[in-house]
Amino acid sequence: MSFHPKMAYDATFHKSARALEEEGPPFVYTPENRARFDKIVQRYPAEQRRSAVLPAVYLAQYQQGYITANAIRHVAELLGITRADVEDVVSFYTMFYRKPMGRFVLQVCRTLSCAVNGAERVTEELSTKLGIKPGQTDPSGTFTLLEVECLGACDRAPVVMVNDAWHECLKPEAAAKLVDDLRARGEVALSGCHHVVEGKKAG
């Protein structure tokens, strides 16, 4: 006689809410990204392909805008690791998005040096202007507003990172205008990093 409770070992038993469902459109790298991927993998020892998981996920995110289960599956297959290994990484790092983001992801630095120079008010102004709270995307899918931790540009506070580019010294009063400028002119409206700008001007 067994004391083991009767278990329903059928097809549904192992289904957990966290299992990776097919989600989003089918995903494979474009030929260009595949070529980039093949080049990146060579930086690491042959038996350490897993090291390339961060750059590989970045490639997927640049291709599709966010990371789906299908993208995770594709990256895992190419690197020869499990999907859980990739999901583990994707869920840990804040720069990987698991849902579609706006065309411009406004990331306002909220940590001390930016905060004492008005970052909280920048977030407020952006929030009012866009009608969304931090963490949300506006209905048109143009802007996502995020509060992020120290961006490493404390001398040009408050700093906002828009996608991968910086906008420095954004005073609260100028925040609404930045939204209009981005809408009208795209990323060229950003100030960029002052070091780069100084280099370009002179060079």
């Binding site: 930086r43 020892p45 350490q48 897993r50 090291s51 390339a52 998981v53 961060l54 750059p55 996920v57 970045y58 690197l79 690791i81 290994d85 583990d88 990484v89 840990f92 790092y93 804040t94 720069m95 990987f96 909220r110 940590t111 001390l112 040096s113 905060a115 004492v116 120079n117 008005g118 909280e120 008010r121 977030t123 407020e124 709270k133 931090p134 963490g135 509060e147 992020v148 931790e149 120290c150 961006l151 490493g152 540009a153 404390c154 001398d155 040009r156 506070a157 990172m161 991968d164 580019a165 910086w166 960029g192 990093c193 070091h195 780069v196 100084e198 280099g199 001007k201 002179a202 060079g203």
Partner: protein, 430 residues
């Protein structure tokens, strides 16, 4: 002291190989390749160079500890610069990238590594572009790659981009991240010098540390030591931010005092305001008060004053700053960045933040202050890495020096110092 590391950063083409070579660039690499690797380690030891990332550990010793019997060995350059208030490596990589590449190559030669990985934080995308171009240039001219300058020495430098994790700046977490895992620290010992990247001996060095290596090789250890007070030699980059008129990166010898840095270099606090507190080494170190401004801004000087030089990120706060708010702001950071591996830190930072938020909005009780101290005491020293100690520092240090502000918040049931630069409507937790 004339700037050395940042001497040419305002020159238009300072980041190009041509400019660098015209200004004695890569001569140190040539000189290094003419010496034995052990001689270089001895030079670095003699220079007394201390790691610029935060801990101030002597770099020469770190390199000596690298187990030379095991192949392959690696250099991992820590360019994850995420300590709040720090932005010096950013400037070096952006405007003087070849100095770092040269430092990496000499470092590899000294410890017998063939590969250096530069782990750069994900938010520094524009810096990465500059660095990638510089590396390509260095390969094209034979300063990297096979048989460098005909010496038979091979060295590759690769960039690895992080993706937004403060914890990746901890050396073992950085290695985990490089291996394609979550950036969570490992137990120490074994230290990376023995069991590091892929289980092989690895030297993990900060960007500014590696940038000092070519200087030591070229000018000699005596020159380097003479630049600063005893055991604190060499040029040092200071990041001054917060409530100052001219925030920025300032290079000085470690003879300089905090007062000179804040008042002379950075222009002091805004007009009509007075200095309230200084965080001398990034958000993770204890606060210093205005009467301690004449402290020498060296590793030992700041330690004597009861704080740490850390990454030399000097955050200046004027009298509009509410210290409860400051602790709340920083604990929001630590709560968000805790990697979640050790329970005291994962659970404790969130708990501390909740209590601080409660006090800040005026719903605190006196017994919360003891609770804050008690939780802090149960995080500090009880985690795998120094993050736990770092995270409780803002709480412990503000409670120590500004307990009356906490009490005023609780008694009056509101923030007693709401500055105009803060949010009009305090945001919800997210």
């Amino acid at each position: 002291m004339e700037p050395i590391l940042t001497r040419y950063v305002r020159e238009p083409n300072s980041f190009t190989l041509d400019f660098y070579v015209q200004h004695e660039g890569y001569t140190a690499l040539k000189e290094a390749l003419g010496k034995k690797p052990d001689e270089i380690i001895e030079m670095v030891k003699a220079s007394g160079l201390r790691g610029r990332g935060g801990a101030g550990f002597p770099t020469g010793m770190k390199w000596q500890f690298v187990d030379k019997k095991i192949e392959p060995r690696y250099i991992a350059c820590n360019a994850d610069e995420s300590e709040p208030g720090t932005f010096k490596d950013h400037l070096l990589m952006e405007r003087n990238p070849h100095l770092l590449i040269e430092g990496c190559a000499i470092g590899c030669y000294a410890i017998g590594a063939k590969v250096a990985y530069i782990y750069i934080r994900g938010e520094f995308f524009h810096v990465q572009t500059v660095l990638e171009r510089a590396i390509d240039e260095a390969y094209a001219r034979g300063f990297l790659g096979r048989n460098i300058l005909g010496s038979g020495f091979d060295c590759d430098v690769f960039i690895h981009r992080g993706a937004g994790a403060y914890e990746a700046g901890e050396e073992t977490a950085l290695l985990e991240s490089l291996e394609g895992k979550r950036a969570q620290p490992r137990n120490k010992p074994p230290f990376p010098a023995v069991v590091g990247l892929y289980g092989k001996p690895t030297a993990v060095n900060n960007v500014e540390t590696l940038c000092n290596i070519p200087l030591i090789v070229h000018h000699g250890p005596e020159w380097f030591t003479a630049l600063g007070p005893e055991k604190n030699g060499g040029p040092k980059l200071y990041c001054v931010s917060g409530h100052v008129k001219r925030p920025g990166v300032y290079e000085a010898s470690m003879n300089i005092t905090l007062r000179e840095l804040i008042e002379d270099r950075a222009g002091g606090v805004r007009d009509g305001r007075t200095l309230k507190a200084v965080i001398p080494g990034g958000s993770s170190v204890p606060i210093l008060l205005p009467n301690q401004l004449d402290t020498q801004a060296s590793f030992d000087g700041i330690q004597k004053a009861g704080s740490l030089l850390g990454s030399a990120a000097i955050i200046v706060l004027d009298d509009t700053t509410c210290m409860v708010w400051l602790a709340e702001n920083l604990l929001h950071f630590y709560r968000h960045e805790s990697c979640g591996k050790c329970t005291p830190c994962r659970e404790g930072t969130d708990w501390l933040h909740k209590i601080l938020r409660k006090i800040e909005r005026g719903d605190g009780q006196m017994r919360d202050l003891d609770l804050l101290s008690s939780i802090s005491a149960n995080i500090g020293g009880k985690t795998l890495c120094a993050f736990g100690d770092a995270a409780v520092t803002p709480v412990v240090t503000t409670l120590k020096h500004f307990r009356q502000e906490y009490e005023a918040h609780i008694k009056e049931g509101r923030c007693t110092l709401p500055a105009d630069w803060r949010a009009r409507q305090p945001a919800g937790v997210h």
